[in-house]
């Protein structure tokens, strides 16, 4: 192999000196001139692009480009894993680089086309394209070898990064073949591996970013270092969407290290609050400056907003006339004529995202060009926002995505990038902008509160006859994509109740959009978390009203939903469901199908939560049994991690989290009053991942929705107390 490398050096040297560029050798790269393809470090003439995903180097390393931002969900490993399997290389040949620009990196979600990460759709969207790219490249490499040996491709085969000739010692490595391969035509429908041929897919391959996340070398947005950069922090109007009418500019400018104050105007389109960016020689100096800033605010329409005023608005919504989301059969009559009917009201509060890495971005804007480095979830939207706010052409703006210290939907909006870019443009230097935790907590795009009233009727055997639900919430779509609100119905308000996979003969769901203007954003599970809490709690109440086992009642309603049923059974079985109580431990159960927003996949999840509650009302969560069917599993370890993640995120919200308001300002400011679940409160989590050949579904959110209701159902079993309003920790669980 070494001698073959040397033989090819002269050709590569020729290409280098003749100025041949990677663009001439690449296959399908349609990039605006300035877009950074995270340019490879080596001389472009000596490496070869095999499509927008793959760059093969002479040293046999294979760079797989990653369009989906890595925010802990594991795409950094999972997506390359898919491509590398079809390409047929060794695991240690893989290098991963974030990239932006090629059309192939974009996702089409119900007509919205962009490069972005969210909705748990990375694996489902890129599974086939990555397999096809890997397989196509492998075919081209094989053909290149066949050409060299003057044989037919069918006489050749690949084996972990080399092409071999049958019944011969002939071997050529991908590194040697890549240049020639890249000049061949791309097969339209390459042969894909059979499941039995997978070398990586389906296996818990080791994660590619663990090492760098274990020695401090992984670069998050906040870690970016650009020569001569200044540091900045932001202070926006504390009143949500309020206006800054004046501030003590001279006083702050006089502080040591302050290099400038940049007033960034409110921009609804890009979620940019009216804010002052304090630019300084260091973050500490910038923070001093921000602390010394006295903003005079015109609060505007949110001035009087308080937890109480929002509660009133929601209560009004509950009484108003609603828009119908679903009407199947005749639920109202069924309930009216039922032997037993019950009614219950539920509510969940406003929530913050609070990722551990606060909002930040680094920007260098100068001479009509801009480059940004940031932890972002929507590259395309960020690009557009910068073009509009900097008033620069698309081609003059380069976007670099770093690791994200948590996303959860928070980093889909570009406001912090716009702030950094405008600050850089104003001061004429590169600027790294970092929000304080207080700023991050109070300038979030929140998950809105949801309220619901459910009514149900059962017969004398406890069978469900009809279900009527009203969901009331501020409208997320009404704020961020109003065209998506159809006939008064915001799908994200009712999802989880409007699309159940239970066999409901009579179902009626209507909704009211609350007129309130707390800034909202995508928050992990969107409407499914709240609605699963409502539905799964109410099913539990119906089960008890009809003296039915909650597990058995659900089983009856899932006879036409075999995947869901299998998941429910798996959770119940793992938990040993059915034993009344062991050692004062009680169990609760819940199920939820996470249906993709474009309906192309469904991931089924069920939990059994086991708790005990002491006489003095101390809750202890002992064990959580989670069963999941996410279709084809690319990497079981990544899926387990997403289950564990969803459980912790869900428990935090269910137990502790609530955002409250006073005079238009969010009360909470840091982790002392927006508390997180910690190690000491962790239950044991047992996961069961069901085997499936269905299309790969998302796992980043799906395990979350059944968590809260399974927990409150367990608390009911333990105490007889029905919790209908989260968070749990505001309730007194003492035995009366």
């Amino acid at each position: 192999m070494t001698s073959l490398h040397q033989r090819d050096v002269s050709r590569r040297e020729f290409l280098k000196r003749s100025g041949a560029s990677a663009a001439g050798l690449a296959l399908v790269v349609n990039l605006p001139a300035m877009t950074v393809l995270s340019a490879c470090d080596s001389d472009v003439a000596t490496s070869a692009s095999l499509g927008p995903w793959i760059l093969i180097e002479p040293d046999e390393s294979v760079t797989i480009y990653l369009g989906q931002a890595e925010m802990g969900q594991g795409v950094y490993t999972g997506l390359p894993q898919i491509l590398a399997d079809e390409l047929d290389i060794a695991w240690d040949q893989i290098r991963v680089k974030a990239a932006y620009g090629a059309e192939e990196f974009q996702t089409n979600l119900n007509g919205y086309v962009a490069q972005f990460v969210g909705g748990s759709l990375s694996t489902s969207k890129f599974y086939l394209p990555l397999r096809q790219s890997g397989a196509a490249a492998r075919q081209m490499l094989t053909q290149a070898a066949a050409n060299r040996w003057s044989v037919s491709a069918s006489d050749c085969y690949t084996e972990q990064g080399v092409v071999k000739l049958k019944d011969s010692d002939n071997v050529l490595s991908y590194g040697v073949l890549a240049l020639e391969a890249s000049e061949l035509s791309v097969p339209e429908s390459p042969n894909l591996k059979k499941k039995s041929e997978f070398s990586f897919i389906g296996k818990s391959m080791p994660k590619l970013d663990t090492a760098m996340k274990s020695n401090g070398s992984a670069v998050f947005g906040i870690d970016v270092q650009i020569p001569e950069m200044l540091y900045a922090t932001a202070k926006a109007s504390p009143v949500m969407n309020g206006a800054i009418t004046s501030y003590n500019e001279d006083e702050v400018l006089a502080l040591p290290g302050i290099r400038g104050l940049v007033h960034v105007p409110l921009n609804y389109n890009f979620s940019v609050p009216d804010s002052v960016i304090v630019v300084a020689d260091s973050y500490w100096q910038a923070k001093r400056g921000a602390d010394a800033l006295e903003l005079i605010i015109d609060g505007g329409y949110n001035q009087g907003v308080s937890t109480e005023s929002l509660k009133s608005a929601y209560e009004e919504g509950m009484q108003a006339s609603g828009s119908v989301a679903v009407s199947v059969g005749d639920a109202k009559s069924a309930i009216e004529n039922a032997e037993i009917s019950i009614e219950a009201e539920y509510d969940v509060p406003y929530l913050a995202h609070a990722p551990l890495e606060p909002m930040n971005a680094t920007a260098s804007v100068k001479d009509g060009k801009a480059e940004i480095w940031a932890p972002i979830q929507n590259q395309s939207y960020t690009h557009y926002a910068l073009s509009e706010t900097l008033k620069l052409d698309f081609v003059s703006i380069a976007i670099n995505t770093t690791f994200l210290g948590g996303g959860f939907g928070r980093r889909t909006t570009p406001e912090f990038v716009v702030q950094a870019a405008l600050a850089s443009q104003a001061v004429g230097m590169p600027v790294k902008l970092i929000w304080s935790r207080e700023e991050d907590m109070r300038q979030d795009n929140y998950r809105q509160a949801y309220s619901a009233r459910l009514k149900g009727g059962i017969d004398d055997k406890g069978n469900l006859l009809g279900l009527d639900a009203r969901v009331v919430a501020q409208s997320l779509f009404g704020q961020i994509m109003p065209d998506a609100v159809q006939n008064g119905v915001d799908e994200s308000t009712v999802e989880g109740l409007s699309d159940p996979l239970y066999d409901f003969e009579n179902l009626y769901v209507d909704t009211v959009n609350v007129e309130a203007y707390v800034p909202l954003g995508w928050w992990r599970t969107i409407g499914r978390g709240p609605n699963a809490f409502f539905l799964e709690s109410f099913l539990d109440e119906l089960a008890h009203a009809g003296q039915r086992d909650p597990y058995e009642l659900r089983r009856d309603l899932m006879q036409k939903n075999p995947r869901g049923l299998a998941v429910l059974d798996a959770a119940a079985s793992a938990a040993g469901w059915g034993v009344k109580s062991v050692n004062g431990h009680f169990q609760g159960i819940a199920y939820h199908p996470y249906i993709a927003r474009d309906k192309t996949w469904t991931t089924h999840a069920a939990h059994v939560v086991e708790v005990s509650v002491s006489e003095s009302g101390v809750l202890k969560i002992h064990r959580i049994f989670c069963a999941l069917d996410c279709g084809t599993v690319v990497n079981p370890r990544l899926v387990e991690a997403m289950i564990e993640s969803s459980v912790v995120f869900g428990l935090t919200a269910a137990l502790k989290s609530e955002i409250t308001f006073k005079d238009g300002v969010v009360d909470q400011s840091n982790f002392h009053d927006y508390r997180m679940l910690k190690m000491a409160e962790m239950p044991e989590i047992e996961t069961v991942i069901l085997e499936s050949d269905e299309v790969p579904g998302g796992t980043g959110e799906a395990p979350m929705p059944p968590l809260a209701p399974a927990l409150t159902n367990a608390i009911f079993a333990a105490t007889g107390k029905r919790i209908r309003s989260l968070p749990i920790e505001k309730h007194d669980l003492r035995s009366t």
């Binding site: 274990s214 020695n215 551990l356 970092i434 679940l677």
Partner: protein
């Protein structure tokens, strides 16, 4: 907000040892060690999560003890020994890091430097750490929820290194 002026900020020089080498900081003596590490020294591994000592992302070892550097003014570090995540090992071969690799503990990874430093300090102090010790000493926030794996990894590191840290 009280008006600040230059004279209310104390400046000076502070010399301390970081990962075995001497560093001198010149400037505002109230600057937290976290920012000195990240900006003056240029080491990005120690993270900023809250600025209030609540999350632990900024955990370093100060004379061997797990310490939250975001609330530690540089003046208090004069003459002290600091180890940051970069100095924990030369080659990812600290037992805690090896356990982290074995279980693929990190998800987003942002809290993990602090988590690893807290775990390493715990095992240095208590080579036979129990689950109760872990509960009491590992109070770092992980928003992604890696706690279960963190606990398992600490047990693996503990068992791999029966005789105590080198």
């Amino acid at each position: 907000m009280a008006q600040q002026n230059n004279s209310s900020i104390n400046t000076g020089d502070v010399t301390f040892t970081l990962n075995g080498s001497e560093h001198t900081f010149s400037g505002d003596l109230s600057t937290p060690l976290l920012w000195v590490l990240r900006e003056q020294v240029g080491l990005q591994g120690t993270k900023f999560g809250c600025g209030a000592g609540l999350c632990g992302a900024c955990t370093v070892h100060l004379n061997g003890a797990a310490t939250r550097s975001c609330v530690l003014p540089i003046a208090a570090v004069a003459g002290q020994q600091v180890i940051s995540i970069e100095g924990l090992s030369d080659n990812l071969d600290h037992p805690v890091q090896k356990a982290w690799l074995e279980l693929d503990v990190p998800q987003c990874g942002y809290c993990q430097s602090g988590m690893i430093m807290a775990a390493a300090a715990l095992l240095e102090k208590k080579p036979d750490a129990t689950d109760a010790d872990i509960d009491r000493n590992i109070t770092n926030i992980c928003r992604c929820g890696t706690y279960q794996r963190v606990r398992q990894a600490i047990h693996i590191a503990k068992d791999a290194d029966e005789g105590g840290e080198s």
